[in-house]
Amino acid sequence: MTDLLTNNRTDATGSVHTDAPRLSVHNLNVGFTRGGEFHEVVRGVSFDLHGGQCIAIVGESGSGKSVTARSIVGLTGRNATVDSSRISLDGEDLTSVGAKRWREIRGRRIGFILQDALVSLDPLRPVGKEIEEALKLHGWGDRASRKRKVIELLDSVGVPLPALRARQRPDELSGGLRQRALIASALALDPEIIVADEPTTALDVTVQAQVLSLLTDTKRRGVSIILISHDLSVVAHLADHILVMKGGVVVESGSAQQVLTAPEHEYTKSLIGAVPGEHTRGRRLGPQLDIVATAHPARFAEEFADYTGPVLEAKNLVKRFRSPDGSLSTAVNDVSFELEQGTTLGIVGESGSGKSTTARIALALTDADEGSVTLLGREWSSIRESSRRSLRKRISVVYQDPLSSFDPRWNTERILLDAVTDEEPRSTAEKKTRVRELIRQVGLTDDILPRFPLQLSGGQRQRVAIARALAPSPSVIVLDEAVSALDVSIQAQILDLLVELQKQIGLSYLFISHDLGVISHISDRVLVMKDGAVVERGTADDVFNRPQHPYTQQLVSSLPTLD
């Protein structure tokens, strides 16, 4: 784990390479023909990759980074047009090779690791068979020696009990093991180059650290790596050279050191500035926000004017689920917390830690088996749904995937009109005014109203989801991984928006995330959850700078940082 944190940039491109590059890409252009129209998605990308070097291509969705990676292994698809003055692998020109030669090159010379191991691996085949298949295709050894090699490979990528794991199917393995099996299959034939497209994106932070350390070892053995990622902090620990892509063009290229510490291009600066973390707390991640403030409706103030206690309070929550085999598993085990007015309580934990179940109990969408929740000092979890309804306006929710939380038949205006509370009768015109007010409050404009959720970008959708959450004028908003699916610059905008709204109307947030950077940026107080229980709690400063529990210490040390 520690080798991750010490930067290993012995072979930075800044130094002079006397040998010829292993892979040389010069002036790569890629375009797609879709619906009769030609779109160019990559323009003029050039780089040289040397032995034992790692080049990272960084950019947000749609920047062309994955397409670049795919054209290096000849996998751009049928309707793509790849045009390059040169792609050469040890002197062999790859621009003109046929499908047969590609199959020989892929796997043996260039290994490819895809983002999502669950999709990339055949769900019906044991992972060992999958790796063996790669060996067999390239005529490697005989049956028995292939079997031995598979076990060896799995062992080398740090899969415990490799002989057992080789017999298991992908769905029987955890995310980290699956990703390592995929890396093993990419390494099977000792390729000189590995292309890794977002290899850690779907993984928890501790598993991510393991995979990164595995890739670091691989690099040390002399394998060259092309790493594709949207996450600058992941790249920081592996890359010697960084290409920053935007809109299909490389906007900045330089040694990792230089790009991360002294970026020249505005876009690179904004990308680096947008990464949330401990050091960014209390300041904006992006440029000044252009949102219109609206006063908090008086109705809320009247009803709860005298209330100064915690807006949301959970006491000893326990939730058990019955597994398919009949045994009981405890998803949430004795969790208590208090959310004070106008503050943010962050709950951080890895997948399966019980943080989302805790959020659902806080929203009274799931009943706890034990314990109780009070909202604004009133009974909340223990009362009937019909009595809860009037109080529901005081707590709202924003999910990770806003698209599934919108009725596909409704456009933005209808979605928001539906959410505008009608505690007191309001005319349609009044409601429409309120919808326009909300849209401006989240930094959008009226022209978005007639559009359907599918027609909005990810950032716009999440803003609409926040507008909907604001509609009933709540005092608490539960944000369940609300920024996890967004690109870093969009994430920065949404986080800035949330902070600004909190300042203006005194909202309280229960912020659930697996992302320690986001949690440390936005939270005043933090709960760390593991296996359903709270292992550490305290101010964000204490938890991230002076973690007490070994698990928190492990989490914090696994967190890749830019410096």
Partner: protein
């Protein structure tokens, strides 16, 4: 080493042309359906003879200019009989579909929305009904009620309902467990309001396509019953009854069975094609 490949920046003109015309399959289906609808409303416009007029001198004539589809054992014009039979056949098909979907809606909604015990019981009932092949279930019902146009509608309706009931149950459950229903719950909307504004509209939408698909199928089932002598009785020109009547002369006059059979197939294909297109355009809207 340097190799400059050609980039086709301008695509072939043919591919950029927008498809604005109705695809030929759908066009043919719509034309056929239009023909059947006219036959249903005003058979006298399309018919060339009296469907019941006996002409024993010209019995069992093969298709000719005078008798497009030939004549039957009593010399009646088969083409006119098919036209006049459209009304009964189509109404039986539509009626059976209506009956089937009504039963399916009730059972499916109960299975998805009722309390634990009611839903459980209804689910078992649907499963038991589903275990019977459609025709067997329909035969059983006709055997109990006795053959008539009504029993054909009822039997086919009940026989085809379990499949639709299961589908409706699935649709409702999908909507009920969706993110937008949870979001509406979190907003504090009442159960009735969520049911009205989210669950029912989203569950019902795919049914539009099912109706068209089901009409075609129901006619096939109803004709099967009539062919077995368990529906409308001859001399009615209902298509299944025509098949049944022609059965006796299949060696001398094969057109008596083949032509009504082809008509049934044509209607079923036309209705199915329309249904598939509605389904596809609905799915396209949802993406």
């Amino acid at each position: 080493m340097t190799l400059q490949q050609k980039v086709p920046v301008t695509p072939p003109a043919a591919r950029s042309r927008k498809k604005s015309v109705v695809p030929w399959g759908l066009g043919t289906a719509l034309a056929a359906l239009l023909f059947f609808v006219v036959a249903l409303i005003a058979p006298q416009v399309l018919a060339t003879h009296d469907p019941y007029a006996l002409d024993l001198a010209n019995s069992l004539q093969p298709p000719s200019l005078a008798h497009w589809f030939g004549t039957d054992e009593s010399g009646r014009d088969l083409y006119s009989r098919v036209i006049w039979g459209t009304r009964e056949s189509l109404l039986i098909g539509i009626g059976a579909t209506a009956a089937s979907l009504t039963i399916a809606l009730i059972l499916g909604s109960l299975a998805a929305l009722a309390g634990k015990y009611v839903a459980g019981t209804v689910n078992r009932v649907i499963e038991v009904l589903f275990a019977f092949p459609t025709l067997l279930l329909a035969l059983l019902l006709v055997a109990v009620i006795g053959p008539s146009a009504f029993s054909q509608v009822f039997a086919v309706g009940v026989g085809t309902s379990p499949g639709y009931a299961r589908m409706i149950r699935g649709q409702i459950l999908t909507a009920k467990n969706s993110g937008y229903v949870e979001a509406a719950t979190a907003l504090g909307h009442s159960r009735g309001r969520i049911l009205r504004s989210h669950i029912i509209p989203n569950a019902i939408r795919p049914l539009v396509a099912i109706i068209a698909l089901s009409v075609g199928q129901s006619i096939v089932w109803a004709s099967s019953l009539a062919f077995l002598g368990l529906g409308v009785a001859p001399p009615s020109p209902e298509w299944g009854a025509l098949l049944d009547a022609g059965r006796l002369y299949i060696t001398q006059a094969p057109w008596l069975t083949v032509i009504p059979g082809l008509v049934i197939v044509a209607l079923a294909i036309a209705a199915t094609t329309l249904g598939k297109h509605i389904q596809a355009s609905l799915e396209k809207g949802e993406k």
